[in-house]
C-alpha cells in the first residue's frame, strides 16, 4: 500500500495527470471536511477543495516525498480557505454583523434556558454567526486548534506564521467567541 502510494506520487510529480486523479479521488472527502470547517459554508468549501487540488498540482514539485501527501494537502486547504475568506470578508462584513444581532434579538416563545439552547439548532446558527465574525486568520487558527486538534507549533507551520502569531490568533479568536456567545451563556 505504502509502495503503491509512493509510485502514484512519483508519477504525479512527473506530471502524470492520471496519477494525480488517484490522489484527488483518495483525498477529496477529507479536504472537503476541513474546508467546510474552515469556511462554514458548503459552496465555499467546494470552491476551496477545487482550488486546493489545482494549487497542489501546480506545486507538486515542491512536495517532499518523505512527507505525507494528506498533511501537505491539508496545509494547502487551510491556506486556500484563508484566501477565500479574505476575498469574501470585505463583501460580507456588514451582513455578518447584522446576522449576529438578529439572532440575539430574536424573541423566544418559551424562554428556553442555556442548556436547552445549547442543544437547539438556534445555537448552531449563533455559533456560526460568531465564527463568521472572526478574521480569516483567526478562524483558520481556531479551527485547526479547536476542531482539528493541531498544536500551536503545527498551526504556525501550516499557516506560515511564527509561533507567537499563531498563538495570538487563537487567543483573539477565543476572546471574540467568548464575548459573542456571552449573551446565550447568560454572562454579561
Amino acid at each position: 500500500m505504502e509502495a503503491e502510494i509512493s509510485t502514484v506520487l512519483a508519477r504525479a510529480r512527473q506530471g502524470d495527470s492520471e496519477a494525480f486523479r488517484t490522489l484527488v479521488e483518495r483525498h477529496s472527502r477529507s479536504a472537503f471536511r476541513l474546508a467546510y470547517r474552515m469556511t462554514g459554508n458548503e459552496h465555499d468549501a467546494e470552491d476551496v477543495v477545487q482550488d486546493s487540488f489545482l494549487r497542489a498540482y501546480r506545486q507538486l514539485a515542491r512536495f517532499e516525498s518523505r512527507a505525507h501527501f494528506g498533511t501537505w494537502l491539508h496545509r494547502i486547504v487551510a491556506n486556500c480557505s484563508v484566501d477565500l475568506l479574505r476575498s469574501r470578508r470585505s463583501r460580507q462584513d456588514f451582513n455578518r454583523a447584522e446576522d449576529l444581532d438578529a439572532i440575539v434579538e430574536q424573541p423566544s416563545e418559551d424562554e428556553p434556558g442555556p442548556e436547552r439552547l445549547a442543544r437547539s439548532a438556534e445555537i448552531d446558527r449563533f455559533v456560526g454567526a460568531a465564527l463568521a465574525q472572526l478574521s480569516p486568520l483567526e478562524r483558520a487558527a481556531f479551527t485547526l486548534r479547536h476542531y482539528e486538534g493541531r498544536s500551536i507549533a503545527e498551526i504556525s507551520r501550516t499557516l506560515g506564521l511564527n509561533t507567537s502569531a499563531a498563538k495570538h490568533s487563537v487567543f483573539r479568536a477565543v476572546r471574540k467567541l467568548r464575548t459573542a456567545l456571552a449573551p446565550i451563556r447568560g454572562e454579561s
Binding site: 502524470d16 492520471e18 496519477a19 483518495r26 470547517r37 462554514g40 489545482l54 501546480r58 515542491r62 487567543f171
Partner: protein
C-alpha cells in the same frame, strides 16, 4: 498569590504547555494551574467560563459527500489543471539552456579567431623555409581548439537529451508531456547548430547521431501535449527502434574520452601566439 492570565488558561485548556519542554515539567505546570483554579475564585470563574464557551463550540457537521465525490472533483478540475512548476533539476536545465547558447556562441567566436589566426600566420610572415610548416602547425592547433570546444559542448548536449529521453521512456501512461516538449524544443535548436558544426569539422558520426536525435526530439515536440498511452507507446517504440538512448550514451562517453585524450589547450594557444608574433 500569582494569578494566571486568560492566555495561560486557554493554553491549559488545550493541553499546550510548550514552555516546559520535559514531560515532568509539563505535568508539574498542569498540576499547579489545576490547583490554583480550584483555590482562586477569580481564576476559577474565568476558567469555567472559558471552558464552558469552548465546550459549546462543537465541530460543525460537514454535509455528507458520497463515494463518488472524489471523481466529481476530478471531473470539475481536470480541464483546468495548470502547468506544473518544473522540478529544481528542470529549472537548472533551463538555466543550462543559456549555457548551451553561450557554448555555441563561444564555438562560433573560437572558429572565427582560429580562421583569423590562420590567415595572419599565412600572409604577413616573410617567406622562408619554415613558413609553410609554421602556418600548417597554427592551423592544426586552431582546428584542435575548435574541435575541443565542439566535443565538450556536444557531450553536455547529449547528457541533457539523455535525461529527456529517459523521462519519456519511463513515463508509463499517457498524460501531460508539455514540460518535456518544452525542453525538447530547446534541445532541437541547439542540436541543429551542433550538427552543422560537426559537419564542418568533419565529425560525420557525431553529425549522424545528432541528426537522429533531432528527428526524435521533433517527434516529441510535435506530439499532442495531452498524449494518450498508445501515442506515447509509438514515440517510445521509435526511440527504441533507433537504439537512440544507447547511441546517445555511447557517443557522450566517447566524446568525453576523446576530449581527455587531447593535448591541453594552453600550450597550443601559447605556441600559436609566439609563432604569429
Amino acid at each position: 498569590m500569582k494569578h494566571y492570565s486568560e492566555e495561560d488558561l486557554i493554553l491549559h485548556y488545550y493541553g499546550e504547555a510548550e514552555r516546559w519542554s520535559t514531560a515532568a515539567g509539563r505535568q508539574r505546570r498542569r498540576h499547579e494551574i489545576e490547583q490554583h483554579v480550584d483555590q482562586c475564585p477569580a481564576c476559577g470563574e474565568l476558567y469555567r467560563s472559558l471552558a464552558g464557551t469552548l465546550r459549546q463550540l462543537e465541530a460543525p457537521e460537514a454535509p455528507e459527500r458520497g463515494d463518488q465525490y472524489g471523481l466529481e472533483v476530478w471531473q470539475r478540475i481536470r480541464a483546468r489543471l495548470p502547468e506544473p512548476e518544473a522540478p529544481w533539476w528542470a529549472q537548472w536545465l533551463r538555466w543550462n539552456r543559456l549555457a548551451a547558447a553561450a557554448g555555441v556562441a563561444m564555438l562560433v567566436v573560437a572558429a572565427f579567431v582560429a580562421g583569423r589566426s590562420w590567415s595572419i600566420a599565412e600572409n604577413p610572415l616573410p617567406a622562408s623555409l619554415s613558413a609553410p610548416a609554421t602556418s600548417a602547425q597554427a592551423a592544426a592547433q586552431a582546428s584542435d581548439g575548435r574541435q575541443r570546444i565542439l566535443l565538450t559542448s556536444v557531450a553536455e548536449h547529449l547528457d541533457r537529451s539523455e535525461r529527456i529521453l529517459t523521462d519519456i521512456m519511463n513515463t508509463t501512461n499517457g498524460g501531460d508531456i508539455s514540460t518535456e516538449q518544452h525542453w525538447a524544443e530547446d534541445l532541437v535548436s541547439a542540436s541543429r547548430l551542433y550538427r552543422q558544426e560537426a559537419v564542418d569539422v568533419g565529425e560525420q558520426s557525431v553529425a549522424s547521431v545528432l541528426d537522429e536525435l533531432e528527428r526524435n526530439l521533433l517527434e516529441v515536440v510535435h506530439s499532442p501535449s495531452q498524449i494518450t498511452a498508445a501515442q506515447l507507446d509509438d514515440v517510445r517504440r521509435r526511440i527504441d527502434a533507433a537504439a537512440l538512448l544507447f547511441k546517445v550514451r555511447v557517443l557522450g562517453d566517447e566524446l568525453r574520452q576523446r576530449e581527455l585524450a587531447m593535448p591541453s589547450a594552453a600550450p597550443h594557444a601559447r605556441a600559436v601566439t609566439s609563432q604569429i608574433s
